[in-house]
Structures are given as structure tokens and as C-alpha cells.
Amino acid sequence: MATPSTYLDFEKPLAELELKIAELQAAGGPAVEDDVARLREKAAKQLKDIYSHLNAWQKTQVARHPDRPHFMDYVDGLFDEFVELSGDRKYMNDNAILGGLARFRGRPVVVIGHEKGRDTQGRIKHNFGMARPEGYRKAVRLMELAGRFGLPVIALVDTSGAFPGKGGEERGQAEALARSIEACLMLDTPMVSVIVGEGGSGGAVALASGNKVLMLEHAVYSVISPEGAASILFHDSKRAKDTAEAMKITAQDLEKFRIVDLVVPEPMGGAHRDPKTAIARLGDAIETVLVPLVKLSPEELRTQRKERFYAIGREGLA
């Protein structure tokens, strides 16, 4: 377990403890060993206390944590022989959505997802994971390829939303999103979508209309960002905490609503504290839901998607 590069505001007491541990360790010597052990125990308890009771706004911050695993981390950790495929064949290559052929535990698949970028340069290259129409058209192209060659699709969603720019509007952002939703729903092969970080609005659902929708424990999925909702409903974006709560955007809420099929537990302290474990757990979860889907015919897969989405809001609500 590594200490994170950034502490979130509600992690302050923990940050102090971990800083003290680091100082003691730097001082070294046998005299500090007991103190370090004692403090470590305290820190572990602190971490558990905080992460067992995260509210929706805190989870939003965790989902956006700069150290959280991103698309390329999952690709490196879960897939072999990744062959990136680029471009929409119409206009350009949008790096906010990446994808390609890869082997998932031996099985050839198409993997697609939003990449937010890790450092400043990366964030600019990937436009903070906010895709333009071309990103979604690339996704459609890759889904069609998957369908033609009988490959399952694994989609990893991590975006605050589609990019709200001028060029995107000019080139049909709405149409591109609609076509991407349609491509997910009409795909001949199994599709597993995972909300790994932020699932922001239409830009997320465009890749999250699969047979199964999974969500990481501290990921969030919403119709609009808490800040956006707060500025509309209360004319005050600072009330994001309240709207995050009211909008029921956590994995736990969405599983109850049957909008999400399975919540994948994160390591204690969030995926960013132990990316390797987080990535491996997601791999196991994807395999669990994918294997039974592979046996279904194209017709059965489409029917399953229809029944899944039609049931939302009709069934299973107390």
C-alpha cells in the first residue's frame, strides 16, 4: 500500500498520521519501531473509519482522485497483446476514448474506455476524458468490428461527460452519443460495461448500455455532475454536497435501483491506495459476468439487454 500523492479534505487526520509515520521512519533506529507500529495501527483504523462511511460527495472526490487507476492502467493490468485501434475514419482520432483489440484472460476481446490522462501533458492529450463526437464514433467503429468477429466488448467508463465544446456541437455530438448507445444495445456479442471512476451523463451511458453494468465501490454515476445540478437547482455550485446526496449517485444506491448489476469492492482506502488489487478484483468480476454471456446467441444477447433496461424503474423497487 502506497501513500497517495494527494489527500482529500476529509482525509486530513489520516494525512497527519501518515506524515508522522514517514518522519519517524526517516529518523530511523530501533527506538521508533514500536511507535511506528502503534501509529500504523491507528492509521489503518482511521482509514477504515473514513472509508466505511463515505457520503456521496466524498465518493465523488474519491472517484476523481488523481491517483485512481485509469483506462491504460486497467489495460496494462488486465489485458495482454493490446493493439490500439485509432480514429473514427471520418474526421480524426479522439484520445479521450481509447480502444483496441486485446486478450482478456486468454480470450480475444475489444476493449474501449475513457482515458483522463495522468499528468498535465496527458490530461491535455486525453482532454481530461471528455470525448468529442469522434471518440464516440471510434467506439461505434470498434463495436462493429467486435460484432463482425464475434468478440465480446469490455467498456470502461470514466468521464465527467462529453466535451461541451463548439466543434463537438458542429460535428453532431448528440448524434454521435445516440449512435453509440444504439451500437451497444444492438451488438451481436456480449458487452460488459464498468463505471470505474466518474460516470457522467450521456457521455457515460453511451458506453454503458451493455448486457451487464458493473461499478467500482466508490465510483459515481449520474445524470449531471453534482456541481452542475447544484448550480441549476440551487443557483449555487457550492451546494454540490447536498445535490450529490439527493441524486443518489453511488454504486450502492444504483445497485438497489437495479441500474447497476454488481458492485466491485475496492481495497480499503480506495482503488488509488492499492491499484494492483483494485485492478485484479475488477478482472475477476468481469470474468464472472462475461463467461455466462459468451454462451448466448446474438438474439439472446439483444433480448437480455432489452429486458434489463426495460425492467429499470418497473421492477424490484420497494
Partner: protein
């Protein structure tokens, strides 16, 4: 899909007005373009297009009267659906907002559908009423859409959707978001039955509505001057820190950019639809009388 911020400030005021876009029941209606006062009966006769060409907003009843042959149609009952799944409250409780909208429009939610004939071809028309909470898409609207699509398939009728919406209904949060894939699924049944699916884009259509069923038609017709945007102009201007050009995200702009087949004056809408349906659909074997909803149910059950 923050539908309210995405509207230009001038449009917001329309939330508080009746669905004909006027200030009340006065005999005279002010043209938003020129300020000219127009006699209400003249407007009704002109499909609520002012002499200067401004297309005022119209509700489902007026749409149905204008669009179906001889003004004859049978309304399709909208299904009952889950209300307020999140027990949502902002300044007001969501259930109170729903009640107010119901009082204002006389409907349970923003979708209304009817079947009849257009140019002698069977058609189901679904109208999204902007007067009901900005035509926002939630569970009830999604269920209404599915019902209209199923009725079109059962009756071998074209599905014509008149879209007008600020986008997803925030008060229903993720349930609203889920209406994007749900409505897209409903369209697939119409397409697989080889029935035309035509979208009429009315002012305004934005957010999650534009990014789902409103951009997947076999044919897209837009009313003149309608704001058709995924992200509203104000949010874009904040993002890119520059002013957008005049006419950006209007119907004519989308035509130029290849997202719309034609910009059609509302007074030409019915003949245009009639021509399209006439060529895409075979003539009915016999002049069908307007069926009753029970007949529709019986057909759907088969």
C-alpha cells in the same frame, strides 16, 4: 444534460407560460420576433406561426389537430409508471412540481400520443409537451415513448415523434439517464418492423433527448429557428470563453451541418410528412377508420 442552464435566458421564461407560448388567455398574442400583436384565432388558423414566421410553441392537442388527416385521431393512454423514485426535493418537493405541471397542462407527464392517418398512411404521433416541466425526460416520458413505439408496431403505423425538451429530468437522476437506452431500444422495434421513424425537432430540443431518440430518425425534420443543442450555448460559451456566432445550434445550422434533412415551416409539415410516408409505406388496403384504444390493446396482445 443540465437542461436549464443549456437554455438561453430568454427561453427560461417560457417555463411559466401556458403551452401555446402566450401570456394567458388574452385575445391577442405578442410575436416574440417583432413584438407585433396577433389575433389569437388568426394564429390558431396559421398553426401558431406569426406573420413574421416565428413558430410559437404548441401543445399536444394542437399538434394532433394539425397533423392528422381531417383532424381525426384517437389518443393513446399513457401507461402508469413509478413516480418520484428518489423522493427528490430541491427548493420544492418534486411531487409538488409534478402536481403544478399537471394542473397547468392537464396531463400526467410531458408525453402525449395519438394514432390516426397522415396522408392516408397510418401514423402514431408522440408529442413532447414543453409546458410540462420543460418536456424533460423521466420515467413517465420513457414509458410513454415505449408505449407509442409498441402501438406503432402493433398497428403497422409510422412513428412520428415531435421532440421538444430541455433534456433529462434531473429530479429523477439516474432513472432519467436510463431513458436514453430505453427509448433507443423502443426505436429498434419500429425499425425492425420496417416502419418509418420520423423525428420532428421543435424548439428547443437538447441534452439527453437530442442525444438519444431525437437523432436516430430515418428522417429528421426541424421547425425553423429551433434551438437544437446537446450542450446549451451558455455552457459552451463558459467553456471556450468566447461568444458563439448568431444562429449557432439553430435548425438551419444543423441542416447545414448535415444533422437534419429539412427545415420545414409548420404549415408545410403535414404535406411533407404525407409525402414521405406515402413513399415509405404501402397504401392501406382499406381506408381504416380510426381504431379505439381497446382495439389497439387487442392487436398488441396478439
Amino acid at each position: 444534460m443540465n437542461w436549464l442552464t443549456k437554455l438561453p435566458p430568454g427561453l427560461k421564461s417560457i417555463f411559466d407560460k401556458p403551452d401555446d407560448g402566450t401570456d394567458g388567455d388574452s385575445l391577442w398574442v405578442k410575436c416574440p420576433k417583432t413584438g407585433e400583436l396577433v389575433y389569437r384565432d388568426d394564429l390558431e388558423a396559421a398553426s401558431w406561426v406569426t406573420p413574421s414566421g416565428a413558430h410559437l410553441r404548441v401543445g399536444p392537442d394542437q399538434r394532433f389537430r394539425m397533423m392528422f388527416d381531417g383532424g381525426a385521431y384517437v389518443e393513446i393512454a399513457m401507461p402508469k409508471s413509478l413516480k418520484d423514485p428518489l423522493k427528490f426535493k430541491d427548493d420544492k418537493r418534486y411531487v409538488d412540481r409534478l402536481k403544478a405541471a399537471k394542473v397547468k397542462t392537464g396531463r400526467e407527464d410531458c408525453m402525449a400520443a395519438a394514432h390516426g392517418e397522415i396522408g392516408g398512411r397510418r401514423a402514431v404521433v408522440l408529442v413532447q409537451d414543453f409546458a410540462f416541466m420543460g418536456g424533460s425526460l423521466g420515467i413517465a416520458a420513457g414509458e410513454g415513448f415505449i408505449k407509442a413505439a409498441e402501438t406503432a408496431v402493433a398497428r403497422r403505423a409510422a412513428l412520428i415523434v415531435v421532440a421538444s425538451s430541455g433534456g433529462a429530468r434531473m429530479q429523477e437522476s439516474s432513472f432519467a439517464l436510463m431513458q436514453m437506452p430505453r427509448t433507443v431500444l423502443a426505436i429498434q422495434d419500429v425499425k425492425q418492423a420496417k416502419l418509418p421513424y420520423i423525428v420532428v425537432l421543435a424548439d428547443p430540443t437538447s441534452g439527453g433527448v437530442l442525444a438519444s431518440y431525437a437523432m436516430l430518425g430515418d428522417v429528421h425534420l426541424a421547425e425553423p429557428g429551433a434551438v437544437l443543442a446537446f450542450t446549451g450555448p451558455r455552457v459552451i460559451e463558459q467553456t471556450i470563453r468566447e461568444k458563439l456566432p448568431e444562429g449557432f445550434q439553430r435548425s438551419e445550422f444543423l441542416l447545414e451541418r448535415g444533422m437534419v434533412d429539412q427545415v420545414v415551416d409548420r404549415r408545410e409539415l403535414t404535406p411533407t410528412l404525407g409525402a414521405i410516408l406515402g413513399m415509405l409505406m404501402p397504401a392501406s388496403r382499406r381506408r381504416s377508420r380510426a381504431a379505439t384504444p381497446t382495439e389497439v390493446e387487442a392487436q398488441a396482445a396478439k
